[in-house]
């Protein structure tokens, strides 16, 4: 059996752990630049506010109901996620962390009843971290996802839905009630196509001819249908494969006109990407930079450009990568447009261990540079991101993401620990 465990309203729940006064109040967490709603408390869902609703459209409703909004605090969410995932790892020999707030556990060999184990998982995560989770249990990943959805939706399941333990009649009812769009991997576009041939519910998809599905929609949809029948097509991927490319990009808090500010942004994104690169012990053989102007400014032409360049030798060195990125930026930059986004991509990645020493090395003393990068990473981990960075990252960073309602980073910064009186 496979379990899917996921945290209810993850971002909002993280905020509530450290601000108990938020309990029972309508709370939302907003996306980058405080644009859209990305996490909603139950109270907010009850008001009919949808996921991804633009925040500026909700101002009247927010005032009327006293909705409390937070900017995304990724430092907090990442730490809480790591805690949850390590706790869950104790309950199974095999774990696949699927996203920041959900993971699959292989429950093979666990003594029955599994629902009791799932309740123990819920109690432990809640007590240790303060975060509520729901558990779906089934024969396949796709069914476990569906069961998790049911566990959340129906209060009678008390947070745990063990699919095979339900009566055949109950299972039938769920399958006929749930729209096909609730199935893992069936997006909006796909569900529209399916609907046009009469597949509206999970039941319909499950009983569609698998061979026909493969011919019309490809092998992925066929496997999804088979998984709904209890036939395992997706194994648990334990270690996430090393990323083939690392992208670090963000929209600015306000339009940026000057080359200097773009240089700061590109430097910061490069530093961040290089840190990720070293985390997975890879080197990049090529680097790309892109900049983009606002598509919403009528009188100004849209300008979007990107450029890739190979590195003289594969590298994971922040300073080497930064120099190359800034060089690319100087070729891309044109004065005039109001830029709203920039990004850096590291690509053609390879394991750092396979590095061949170059005959004419770029760096006089690569070992010293390696030590410098390790120190850089250690300092930024310990004292917070951006504590130590290349000078080209700038000091003021007026263009930075808008995060007006950012909570404290309760667990990752000494100065921001919660206070008890």
């Amino acid at each position: 059996m496979i379990a899917l465990v996921d945290v209810n309203n993850f971002y909002v729940s993280c905020q509530r752990v450290f601000e108990p006064a938020l309990e029972g109040k309508p709370v939302v967490v907003l996306s980058n630049n405080d644009g859209c709603v990305v996490s909603r408390s139950a109270e907010v869902k009850a008001l009919g506010i949808n996921m991804a609703a633009p925040w500026f459209q909700l101002q009247a409703l927010a005032r009327q109901h006293g909705i409390i909004a937070y900017s995304s605090n990724y430092a907090l969410y990442a730490d809480m996620s790591n805690r949850v995932m390590r706790i869950l790892a104790q309950f199974s020999a095999q774990q696949e962390v699927y996203s920041i707030d959900e993971c699959f556990l292989d429950l093979a060999g666990q003594p029955a009843p599994l629902a009791a184990l799932a309740q123990r998982i819920r109690r432990t995560v809640l007590q240790w971290t303060g975060l509520p989770v729901c558990v779906g249990i089934a024969q396949t990943k796709t069914l476990a996802k569906l069961a998790n959805h049911l566990a959340k939706r129906h209060a009678r399941y008390a947070g745990v839905c063990e699919w095979p333990a339900l009566s055949a009649a109950t299972r039938q009812q769920h399958l006929r009630e749930e729209p096909v769009s609730e199935v893992w991997g069936i997006g909006r576009k796909l569900s529209r196509s399916l609907a046009s041939e009469g597949i509206h519910t999970v039941f319909d998809l499950m009983h569609a001819d698998p061979e026909g599905l493969r011919q019309r929609y490809g092998v992925v949809v066929q496997r999804t249908a088979l998984e709904l029948r209890g036939q395992r097509c997706h194994a648990l991927d334990e270690a996430p494969a090393d990323k083939q490319q690392i992208l670090c990009s963000r929209s600015f808090g306000r339009p940026v006109l000057h080359a200097g500010e773009l240089q700061e942004a590109v430097s910061i994104y490069t530093a961040r990407a290089a840190e990720k690169l070293r985390q997975q012990a890879s080197c990049a053989a090529a680097i790309g930079v892109f900049i983009r102007s606002s598509p919403h400014r009528e009188r100004e032409p849209l300008y979007a450009a990107q450029l890739f360049a190979p590195l003289p030798e594969p590298s994971d060195d922040t300073l080497t990568l930064t120099r190359q990125a800034l060089q690319l930026l100087s070729q891309l930059y044109r004065p005039g447009p109001a830029y709203i986004k920039a990004g850096v991509m590291l690509t053609a990645l390879q394991p750092a261990s396979l590095q061949q020493p170059s005959l004419f090395p770029e760096l006089a003393d690569p070992q010293r540079r390696q030590a410098l990068n390790a120190t850089l990473d250690a300092i930024n981990r310990r004292w917070g991101r951006g504590t130590l960075q290349p000078a080209s990252c700038g000091k003021a960073q007026h263009w930075q993401m808008r995060r007006q309602s950012l909570s404290r980073s309760w667990t990752t910064r000494w100065q921001e620990l919660p206070v008890a009186r």
């Binding site: 006064a21 805690r83 706790i87 240790w128 303060g130 620990l417 008890a420 009186r421």
Partner: protein, 149 residues
């Protein structure tokens, strides 16, 4: 900034700090180090004071409600609290509790039907909890750290 007594605390994506034993140090040539057979792991504050890092959180004390006359129990303003949520609170434990949505650090008194939160500083009266007021224990304080300077 005063020295921080606690070592690198298990943060975002880093595994808990581990000290490596002396063994395995490469010896240039000739005689092996006589210390090699006696290598042990260096003592680690995290190991001792944070047995369950997933459930451990740090708090800062604000105010002098726990600064009592008993030096063993005195927690001064500004001290760093190590709070373990995996422990269940028992009578006489120092706990982080939530009162009216705010965090407070107090000693838990639980005898029979009586439930109260006690300050170490006699200037603060006990907080008695009646039927209508719900007591939420957030975590159990297992240690506190005070900088010497």
């Amino acid at each position: 900034m005063p020295p921080i007594l606690l070592g690198p605390f298990a943060a975002a994506s880093t595994p808990p700090a581990r000290q490596f034993p002396l063994a395995g140090v490469r010896v240039p040539a000739g005689f092996p180090s006589p210390a090699e057979d006696w290598a042990e792991e260096r003592v680690d504050l995290n190991r001792r004071y944070v047995p369950c890092p997933e459930a451990t959180f740090l708090f800062t004390v604000g105010g002098d409600s726990m600064a009592g006359p008993d030096p063993q129990r005195c927690i001064p303003d500004g001290a760093t609290l190590i709070v373990d949520r995996s422990r269940s609170a028992a009578h006489n434990d120092i706990v982080i509790a939530v009162i009216d949505g705010d965090f407070t650090v107090k000693r838990l008194y639980r005898r029979g039907q009586q439930l109260a939160l006690l300050a170490e500083n006699p200037a603060y009266p006990p907080i008695r909890l009646g039927d209508e007021q719900e007591l939420v224990i957030w975590g159990v304080v297992t240690a506190w750290v005070v900088s010497a300077a």
